[in-house]
């Protein structure tokens, strides 16, 4: 009895308290943003700071949604992100199947090629992409942003899908083919449905990265097509920063990606760490 209580106290002091400290650091700035967004304007700029507002208001959110094309920007982000997911997934599925199921000359080279692409500095691509898009008259279009975001979504999707397809036994393809399916039929009817959770997780992760992306969105577009991240950045006024409006924008703009991330984290992380841990 005594031992149990002491060890529980011990556990609390060593493990749970340190965990709480790390989580406080991890969530603190985020919670502070959310709290700021629901504070009345006059409480924001008062010292000493009230950590817990005695009054709560939605005025910043009302102003945000009535002004500044905020919802329109969210819609445009949605178009870009969905477009990027479609391009990334559709191109990578057959490639991943090929990497997973066949052994052919050049396979290793091509797989490593996709790995290298993922590590190209953004800055090395964003400079020439701007020049190319400008020449083609594509600046400030959905197309430009979807192409730019595909530069990271395609290699990522190819690697993730390859590792998901690897988990499906080859005997299933063979069984489907003895039953009269073609190779592609086996892929489409047997393998893909089985790794659907992996396809969905990959798609959602691409969606999140595209939704969150800022540099390409700011450089290759920003006027006609203004994604949410660029929209939030433009909320910064010329003379003073309206922190209430800005934190409301940040909270709302980050919400879709945050929720999706929490929903898929388990699945996604399994896929991501699989390769690293096996070593």
């Amino acid at each position: 009895m005594m031992v149990g209580r002491r060890s529980r106290l011990n556990r609390f002091l060593t493990i749970e308290l340190s965990m709480l400290a790390i989580i406080a650091f991890g969530l603190g700035p985020y919670l502070w943003m959310v709290l700021t967004s629901i504070k009345p304007e006059e409480l924001l700029f008062r010292l000493p700071i009230d950590y817990w507002p005695e009054q709560v208001t939605l005025e910043h959110y009302v102003r945000l949604l009535s002004k500044a094309n905020f919802l329109e920007n969210m819609g445009q982000s949605l178009v870009v992100a969905v477009g990027t997911v479609c391009v990334g997934l559709s191109l990578s599925v057959t490639a991943a199947y090929s990497f997973s199921r066949f052994r052919f000359p050049g396979r290793r080279f091509l797989m490593l090629k996709f790995l290298v692409i993922n590590m190209f500095p953004v800055v090395l691509l964003i400079i020439p992409l701007f020049v190319v898009m400008r020449k083609l008259g594509l600046l400030d279009t959905y197309f430009a942003l979807i192409i730019a975001h595909s530069t990271f979504s395609i290699p990522f999707a190819t690697w993730m899908m390859t590792s998901y397809i690897n988990t499906i036994p080859v005997s299933l393809d063979e069984a489907a083919m003895t039953d009269g399916c073609t190779r592609l039929g086996a892929m489409w009817r047997v393998v893909l449905p089985l790794c659907l959770p992996g396809v969905v997780a990959t798609g959602i992760y691409i969606f999140i990265t595209s939704w969150n992306e800022y540099l390409y969105a700011a450089i290759l577009a920003g006027q006609n097509v203004r994604t949410i991240t660029v929209g939030i950045q433009t909320l910064i006024g010329e003379f003073e920063i309206e922190w209430g409006l800005l934190t409301a924008g940040g909270t709302l703009g980050a919400l879709p990606a945050t929720i999706l991330f929490i929903v898929i984290q388990r699945h996604l992380i399994e896929g991501m760490v699989a390769g690293a841990v096996k070593r």
Binding site: E16, F25, R107, V132, Y214, T229, A257, V273
Partner: protein
């Protein structure tokens, strides 16, 4: 009957290449062609609104870079930026992973909460932390004043001595969940029989950590660190949002300098040359990573 499959196998298979061709073609067009364009621009005078003045200048930009003071400042900052950020992320992520691997009632909740920084857009992260660091109404100053750690408000991002470190803290915050998740997965993959055997042999907790935990995690740690070095080196969006490289050149890293040089001066030639130089420097780390990852590709 017995001959057919063997003969089929000996022929060069066509289908895998057919399945790969769309993605290979697309990446050639949207990634490799632009990259060649960047290399081409790096050896030309290329100011975008002076198309008549585009001309080959051999390696003039690279020579300029080596005598460019800002290049060296940025390079130095890049070194500080990468080494400090990655080691802080690793340390915090390691601690978090070890705690998450213990047994306590709200472990699943803790694991869910800890990855939130990972999910947020860099613009939001930049703004959120700028608000934390605000010289007048920032929560950090308020905290430190209350606890007597400061006697006077500090403009963290406007002070050239603190700006880089303030952003490093922000990026540590953004990146430590990645390490926590990777290391946690590594910890869970260690068979518990190892520890049981060590226990029987009378090994202390500390000995178990040094002789079982660390060696078993080596692979995960090296992979994660290499990946993060590349990622942290490349990430310029948070710096761009928070300080745009300022005050002065206090938060310039090399890729950010290449970016700013390109778009503020519209000097695509010199900007590309800086980007190419940076890529060459990063290549060493990329090759190390590929060597490891390459062993997985069988």
């Amino acid at each position: 009957m017995g001959m057919t499959p063997r003969r089929y196998r000996r022929r060069l298979p066509v289908l895998p290449y057919v399945l790969l061709s769309p993605v290979v073609l697309v990446t050639l067009v949207i990634i490799f062609y632009p990259m060649l364009q960047a290399i081409w621009m790096s050896v030309h005078d290329y100011i975008i609104w002076k198309p008549q003045d585009i001309r080959f200048n051999a390696f003039a930009h690279f020579v300029t870079a080596f005598s460019d003071e800002v290049f060296w400042i940025s390079l130095w900052h890049t070194a500080i930026w990468i080494s400090l950020t990655v080691s802080l992320q690793l340390a915090l992520g390691f601690a978090a992973a070890i705690l998450l691997n213990q047994d306590f009632p709200w472990r699943a909740l803790a694991r869910g909460l800890i990855i939130i920084p990972w999910a947020l857009p860099s613009v939001v992260i930049g703004l959120m932390w700028s608000w934390v660091y605000d010289p007048n109404y920032g929560v950090l100053n308020d905290f430190m004043l209350r606890f007597g750690l400061l006697t006077q408000s500090m403009p963290w991002l406007a002070n050239p001595d603190t700006a880089l470190y303030a952003i490093i803290l922000t990026l540590t915050w953004q990146g430590f969940p990645f390490f926590a998740v990777m290391i946690l997965a590594g910890l869970q993959a260690i068979p518990s029989s190892y520890y049981e055997a060590a226990e029987l042999d009378g090994a202390s907790r500390r000995q178990q950590f040094w002789h079982i935990t660390l060696p078993s995690l080596k692979g995960v740690l090296v992979t994660a660190v290499l990946l993060r070095i590349i990622w942290v080196a490349n990430s310029i969006d948070v710096i761009y949002v928070m300080t745009s490289g300022g005050p002065g050149y206090a938060t310039h890293t090399l890729p950010l300098y290449a970016f700013l040089r390109t778009y503020t001066a519209m000097d695509f030639g010199y900007g590309s040359a800086l980007a190419v130089l940076f890529t060459l420097m990063l290549l060493g780390v990329v090759v190390l990573y590929l060597r490891r990852a390459g062993r997985d590709v069988t």
